[in-house]
Amino acid sequence: MLDMAEEKDLQSTVKPKVTLRDVHVHYGDVHAVNGIDLDLYSDKVTALIGPSGCGKSTLLRCLNRMNDTIPDCRVDGEILLDGKNIYDAKIDVVQLRARVGMVFQKPNPFPKSIYDNVAYGPRIHGIAADRTSLDEIVESSLEKAGLWQEVKDRLDDSGIALSGGQQQRLCIARAIAVSPEVILMDEPCSALDPIATAKVEALIDELSGRYAIVIVTHSMQQAARVSQKTVFFHLGEMIEQGDTTQIFTAPREERTRDYITGRFG
């Protein structure tokens, strides 16, 4: 059995996958994210929670530079992926996004076949050497996404023909297919019913050992269910971060407590 001090030591020897140092995001004059310091680990699901407009989605989008597509969005500070600043001029954003996958709020499968949806990423990045290995990637991605059994006989059907939950798992399979190291999820279940939500959450659990997963969610229960680490944002600032159990039983900050217990802020 480890005693407390030893446990702490162990923690510090694990290298964080992604490190944020004093990250600020501005939209024009709006200071959306204010000085965030945060470590994300490969074996953990990190949940970002906070009221709407607190900057959590903005921060999420910084991690694969999806903010680049928004005019007058400025990101300052350092975001290191395996120790390299992803905002460095030498970083190729195309490569970055392959390594840092993303799943969106609303399922957005392409209006193509299920197979082509999953094969899209490997094809553009040239990951599969031939048709056979592409087939393998598609199968294993769908399997990891828990969708293989449901769709293996209709890979040529349109991805849009699937149910909402299946669509979202297809999008996750699509993201996994390029073997990302980090997966960002922006309220992935907000458009889904409880059963579909449960399946996606089960999938997140399943994936949690293999990828650094960051999930933005408005459902506190979901954050509590799927994450090991929870970060609370308020008005663009990080108020508290910690083990999910600690945040949900004994938050240190009053604002965190007020938010998660549903009190007047």
Partner: protein, 444 residues
């Protein structure tokens, strides 16, 4: 604890080695592809802008001088023997008497006085051709206005002929061989001599904006066509606007959703894409053939253009009406308004800015339209400015078409100038539409 290994997460089982040379080369290729795409797109936009600038610049460069006109000052002896005596004549009678006088004689006299070396019938005729055939009417007007000139010699400024005008403006290349140009060296010599005396002037050509068509380029004006366009558009507006708005109100607010209204809707969308010349054929067959209306009249032109603009107006009015939020209708209905009252008291007034914008744009399109009007005979040569919707008339774009077809070199600048007038009206109308849209733009 010593056997503990830090996590090594950089490689997954299906991991991709992004740093391999193959992958780096691939990335490089893909990024070049992206830049190429962006460049082609940028080129397309630039090319479009270039076309526009080239087109407008070309027109403006050709047309600017169309607003100027060369005049030549000559010393005319207002011979009392030829001209009537104003002292014992009524004003009208005097004018009628002056009109009888051969002004060409006075002009010839004045010119031969200036160039005494010119003899012979052919050369004298050439000499008088320095001036426009409109110079006679000009001189007549001067005499009628200033009877006191009779018996004196006075320097008057008269319109130069189109060929002279073009030389003065530098539009005609005088360096080519004499055989290949209209003006002889002799005529150019006269011109030079006049120029050296400062008798050749270029002035703003108000006549161009105030008179009707003519066979002579230096005498033409766009006013006839502008008036024709105005009358035609008036007819178009008065017919297409109420019918279009009524139809839009019916289709948006009252029409039952059934097969028939579906057909009406599809039909309207298709009508909007029917070539304009087909509407001309319809106008020809129905308004002229069947109903026997007068050819070349703004009435027929306006009705034909109304057929053409009706779909546009219906479509834009419908979208303006559809943009009024249902909550307004619910509110009015909740107060006990009948469907008609809801439509006419609430929905239509709120949609009016949008309807007006669409209508103005439709009208602007009708203003620029010429093909269907060719079908119904608005392409005739008409000197008089039309005063009513039944007078023969032409419209600005057709006037442009007619002039563009004319062989005289001077018509190029007149055509271009007329295009500038047309574009001025179009820009004004579109500007008005944009202003309306911005002033009344509402985000529900």
């Amino acid at each position: 604890m010593t056997d503990y290994q830090p996590f090594e997460h950089e490689q997954d089982d299906t991991g991709v080695d992004w740093n391999s040379p193959e992958m780096q080369a691939r990335l490089h290729r893909r990024n070049i592809g992206d830049r190429f795409f962006r460049f082609v797109g940028f080129f397309a936009v630039t090319a479009s802008a270039f076309f526009l600038v080239f087109l407008l610049g070309n027109i403006a460069q050709k047309g600017a001088s169309g607003f100027l006109q060369t005049s030549i000052e000559i010393d005319v002896a207002f011979d009392a023997d030829i001209l009537p005596d104003p002292t014992n004549l009524e004003k009208d009678a005097f004018a009628a008497a002056v009109a009888q006088v051969n002004m060409q004689y006075l002009i010839r006299q004045a010119l031969t006085n200036r160039f005494p070396e010119v003899t012979g019938r052919r050369d004298t005729t050439r000499l008088t051709r320095l001036l426009s055939s409109g110079a006679r009417a000009q001189l007549r007007d001067i005499v009628i206005k200033n009877p006191e000139l009779i018996g004196t010699t006075h320097r008057v400024s008269l319109l130069a002929s189109d060929e002279i005008d073009q030389v003065v403006k530098g539009n005609t290349d005088v360096s080519v061989d004499e055989a290949n140009r209209k003006l002889t060296d002799m005529e150019l010599g006269w011109l030079q001599s006049l120029e050296s005396e400062g008798r050749v002037t270029k002035d703003l050509h108000t006549r161009f904006l105030t008179s009707g068509d003519s066979r002579e380029p230096e005498l033409v004006g766009v006013w006839g066509a502008v008036a024709g366009s105005g009358l035609t558009l008036l007819v178009t507006l008065l017919t297409a606007f109420p019918i279009g708005v009524f139809a839009a109100i019916y289709l948006e607010e009252f029409a039952p959703k059934n097969r028939f209204t579906d057909i009406v809707e599809i039909n309207i969308n298709n009508l909007a894409a029917v070539p304009s010349i087909v509407f001309g054929l319809l106008g020809l067959a129905v308004f002229l053939g069947l109903m026997g209306m007068a050819r070349s009249a703004p009435l027929v032109g306006g009705l034909t253009l109304a057929l053409l603009t009706l779909p546009t107006i219906i479509i834009s009015a419908r979208s303006a009406i559809a943009a009024v939020p249902p909550s307004i209708r619910d509110a009015a209905r909740g107060l006990g308004a009948s469907p008609m009252q809801v439509a006419f008291h609430h929905v239509v007034p709120l949609a009016m800015p949008g309807i007006m914008t669409g209508t103005i744009i439709g009208m602007a399109r009708a203003l620029g339209e010429s093909a269907p009007l060719l079908m119904i005979g608005m392409v005739a040569f008409i000197v008089d400015v039309p005063a009513s919707i039944n007078d023969p008339a032409t419209v600005l774009p057709v006037q442009i078409f007619i002039w563009a077809d004319s062989p005289e070199r001077a018509f190029i600048e007149k055509t271009s100038a007329a295009i500038m007038v047309l574009l001025f009206f179009l820009i004004t109308m579109n500007g008005l539409a944009i202003w309306l849209r911005q002033k009344f733009e509402r985000n529900w």
